[in-house]
Subunit: 212 residues, 2 copies
C-alpha cells in the first residue's frame, strides 16, 4: 500500500474547503495567513500557496496587500456560475448520449429514485451523494479533459452552495422530477433537448439559490 504523498499546500486547500462546506467559514470572512498557519502548526509559505489555488478556483477573493476573503456572491454571480456549469455539462452529455448502455440508463433512473427516497426522509447528505453519482455517471462518457477540468472546478464552488441550501430548494418529488427529465432527454437522444434540459436543470437551481 503506497504512502499517499501530500504537500502542506494540498492539505491546507482541503482544510479550508472543509471549513467552507461546514459553514465554519462563510461569505465575507477573512482568511488570515498567520492565523491559519498557527492553527495548522505550519509556516505561512504553504498557506500562501494554498491561497493562490483557492483564489484561482473562485473560493477566495484576494485583495492585494489587504487580505483574502470568502466571496460574497451576488445573485447574478450564482446564476452565472450555475448557468456555465449547465452549458458545460449539457454539451458533454449531448455529445455522448449514444454511448449509454441500457444498464447505465437504468442506473441513472435508480439513482433518481434513490435521491427522491432520501429527500423524502430529509437525508440531504445522501441526496447529495446520490446526486453526485448521477451527474458523474452522466458526464462520464465524455473524455474532453479541458471541459471536465472546468466542470470539476466549478463543482467545488457550487457544491458549497448546494450543500448549504439543498434542504430549502426542492421537495422530494421535485428532486425526482428534475432528474427524470434529464434521463428522459438522454433516452430520447434528441441533442437539442438534452442540452436544453440540462442547462435548465442548472439555471433552475442557480436561480433558486440566488433568491435565498
Amino acid at each position: 500500500m503506497p504512502i499517499v504523498k501530500k504537500t502542506y499546500k494540498d492539505q491546507v486547500v482541503d482544510y479550508v474547503y472543509q471549513l467552507l462546506l461546514t459553514n465554519e467559514l462563510g461569505p465575507g470572512d477573512q482568511l488570515k495567513e498567520s492565523l491559519l498557519a498557527e492553527q495548522m502548526g505550519i509556516s505561512r509559505a504553504p498557506i500562501r500557496e494554498a491561497m493562490k489555488e483557492l483564489i484561482m478556483n473562485g473560493l477566495v477573493d484576494y485583495r492585494p496587500q489587504v487580505g483574502n476573503f470568502i466571496p460574497v456572491l451576488s445573485p447574478k454571480q450564482i446564476v452565472d456560475s450555475y448557468t456555465t456549469r449547465g452549458v458545460l455539462e449539457g454539451y458533454a452529455v449531448m455529445e455522448t448520449c449514444d454511448q449509454f448502455s441500457a444498464e447505465e440508463v437504468d442506473k441513472l433512473e435508480n439513482l433518481t429514485e434513490q435521491m427522491e427516497n432520501y429527500a423524502d426522509k430529509k437525508n440531504h447528505k445522501m441526496v447529495i451523494e446520490a446526486g453526485g453519482e448521477f451527474h458523474d455517471l452522466l458526464i462520464s462518457k465524455n473524455n474532453n479533459v479541458q471541459l471536465l477540468e472546468y466542470t470539476d472546478r466549478l463543482s467545488l464552488k457550487l457544491h458549497i452552495l448546494f450543500f448549504k441550501y439543498l434542504g430549502k430548494l426542492y421537495g422530494p418529488s421535485e428532486v425526482g422530477r428534475r432528474h427524470r427529465e434529464i434521463v428522459e432527454s438522454v433516452k430520447s437522444k434528441d441533442l437539442g433537448l438534452i442540452e436544453k434540459v440540462i442547462r435548465q436543470h442548472y439555471v433552475e437551481t442557480g436561480s433558486k439559490i440566488a433568491i435565498l
Copy 2:
C-alpha cells in the same frame, strides 16, 4: 496618473507568458525556480506563487518534488481545449445575438475584412489583433462573469498555439470565410445555427493545429 501596483508574482506570470508566446519556452521545457529567480533578480517565493497560477491556467505542468514543465499537449488535448472554448463562446453569443446593433454587425464585418487583408499581406500579428477584437466584440454582450472568466483563461492557453501556428492554418480567403460565417449566423438570429457555427469555428482550428 495612478501608479500601477504589481506584485512580483504578477510580473513573473507575465514574463513567463511572454517567453511562451515568443517560443523561448516550449513544450517539455522545465521551469526551474532558482534559475528564474536568478534571471529576474528576485527570491523564489514570488516565483513559486507565479508557478501556482500558471499551473491552474494549464500553462505549466507540475510534478510534485520533481519540477515544473511546459506541457506537451496531445492532439486530443488541443482539440478538447478548442472545443471547450467554442462551447463557451457559442453559448455566450447565442444568448445575446439580439443585442447587436447594425453598427456593431458592420464592425464585425469590417474586422473580418481587415483580417482577410492582413492575411493577404501575411501580417499574422495584425490578423491576430483584428481577430482578437472580433471575438471580443462578439462576446462583449454577454456579462456572465463565470463564463467570461473561463473563456479568458482558455484564451491564455490557446493564444500561444494560435500565435505559433496561424501562418500555417488558413489562407486569406479562408480567414475571411470563417469569420463571415459567424457574422451571418449572428445576423440570422438562428440560435441553433449560431452555436453550431461558433463551435465548428473552434473545432476546425483545434483540429488543424492538432495535426501540425
